[in-house]
Subunit: 118 residues, 2 copies
């Protein structure tokens, strides 16, 4: 049996639109709607084994895309950089750091974003 | 005949790793190394028509991926936001804007980055 994998669910958010229509439907039912293999099989009019096959195919495609494109990984990095920037802005606004220091920190974090190439 | 499309060349930078190995080789030869169809055909040991077919297949795949994932488009947006942030940092450093104003601008641009969801 599978174990539902939260990483797959996360990747589905990023790459779901690229999957074949039927694979996407089964993946959404399994990961987003939390249906069982049997319930999906009934809904799709195919065997449980057929559902299992489509899910496996979808998982492999998602993992392949993430390995090649790294969109989810980059998203996490950009998000972390964004949080740093917001924290600097907050400290700057509250007068907790000198403008020059804030400017340098903003420049550094921003250059990190650019160099990530996303 | 094709016209070489700079957009395709740009998308190749983003999604090239996802293409089938042979399609990738032909796309690289055509777009990056600027070889002719005949030269690529000779190198690959296939017909010009075969090369043309692989390039068309690659182009369709790249355009499909960009339509679904928008990585190149997002990259442009993130880059524009990054340039804004660097400009704010520069003005802050030069004392051309008040810290509070800079803080608000940084927060606004950063929230744009986050909301883009990349």
């Amino acid at each position: 049996m599978f174990e539902k994998n939260m990483k797959i669910s996360y990747l589905l958010d990023f790459y779901g639109d690229v999957l074949d229509e039927r694979v996407r439907a089964v993946m959404d039912a399994y990961y987003d709607d939390d249906l069982s293999l049997s319930e999906i099989a009934d809904g799709e009019g195919i065997s449980r084994q057929g559902v299992r096959h489509l899910i496996k195919k979808g998982e492999e495609h998602l993992l392949f895309l993430e390995q090649k494109l790294g969109l989810a990984h980059h998203h996490g990095e950009i998000r972390a950089s964004a949080l740093s920037l917001l924290a600097v802005a907050e400290r700057l606004k509250n007068g907790e750091i000198a403008p020059e220091v804030a400017a340098d920190q903003i420049t550094e974090v921003t250059n990190t974003i650019v160099s990530k190439g996303v």
